[in-house]
Symmetry: none
Subunit: 128 residues, 4 copies
DNA sequence: GTGGTCTAGACCACC
DNA sequence: GTGGTCTAGACCACT
């Protein structure tokens, strides 16, 4: 499914969280689709099940997935309650980055072009 | 000068780094302007001088400030050598954030408007 | 493992950096091989762990080693991104040295012979 | 005569030493030629005379210049006693650099070509 | 047991 | 007074 960076300071469970989140965001995992089970994923990644458990737990509290006992973990449909604060968080980070880019004399037109390119790319993937 | 989050997970020295960087990026500290001395800042933040030292040292290796022995730490003027790779790094981070914003249905026009607003705000500050 | 000059002007952590770097460069420590732990080395050198930490941290930012939390520090495989600029740095230093050797009337043939000897020596070690 | 880097950790007297040494090595200052007087240089560099004094003193003990009371400081002709140990020092530094270049896969032919280029360049300057 | 962070307190070279 | 180095001793998160 994906590979982990065993060298690097990031805890494994955070890496799993990020990768899973990326799969959801990119649409590789659709809403209400089932995630690989904890044991299954632990085996394919040769990693401790507890680590997977921790990653899934945090994804749940962040609103990206939901779990049904004895059934598994599933991609959560978007919920307005979740969207708002997360969007604000992201915009905050984005503002910092843009501020530094301006400091480095990145021209406004070029930055906007970059963003339009990202939108275009994601649009095309949606059709898959 | 600013406040620190003493219980959050982020290391104090990283918080100091970020705040100082923000002051530089926003132009609150101009090139070749002197930063508060290690001991001085340590005292006002009621924090250990070594922690400030560490923050300043990293800012130096990242090219944001330079230090003169027995004189102090100063804001570094922009160097071409630094700009390019840093810009690439930032664009990478930005791409991740935009991708997640798209997943959260942030409309393209609105995001671009946000960015234009940031540019405009910085432009105005420049005139100070 | 090696000895330190405790009275010279050079900071201890720099001495440790250099020695460790030499071990890596000479191939005494192979890629992904584990370095002595911070505490361990501190004990054998009768030096403070923080000093070792500092040395290791700088080696990491220079791209010679990488660290895994709760596992240890390891020799980093060569990365293309690092090689280029570092090579330019080294050639600059080399030019200064050669210039002074020319001033001291070192004959060109002899200097080249010296360099060929170094290459030959390293080639042979490679076979180990 | 030359410029000093007032930002950067190197003590001023060391910078002066290095620059002066460079002028001697490059042949800009010929043997037995008089160096600028301490006061004179202090004035043009807007620096404390003591700092110049310290630089000259060290250049003298390293054998690059000699001083005559009430006359001034002069470029020393090459002396065998000085040459030998200095040459060994330089070769030591050179060996470290070459070792690292080999580690970075610098090809032998290219390194030798670089050195030949330096020799050629210095040869041409000699004719000035 | 490991790396990473932090504190308290000390000494040095430089200006 | 300033940055830079070093020690001693402590706590934390992760494996």
């Amino acid at each position: 499914m994906f590979q982990l960076d065993r060298q690097g300071n990031k805890p494994l469970y955070e890496q799993i969280k990020e990768k899973m989140k990326a799969l959801i965001i990119n649409g590789a995992l659709k809403p209400d689709e089932r995630l690989p089970s904890v044991r299954e994923l632990a085996q394919t990644l040769t990693i401790n099940p507890n680590t997977i458990q921790k990653a899934y737990k945090e994804l749940e509290t962040e609103g990206f997935i939901y779990s049904i006992r004895a059934k598994g973990n599933f991609v959560a449909p978007l919920e307005q309650k979740i969207i708002r604060p997360r969007r604000d968080e992201l915009k905050n980070e984005l503002e910092k980055i843009v501020a530094e880019l301006i400091y480095l004399h990145e021209p406004q037109e070029q930055l906007i072009a970059t963003i339009q390119a990202i939108y275009k790319e994601k649009e095309e993937k949606k059709d898959d």
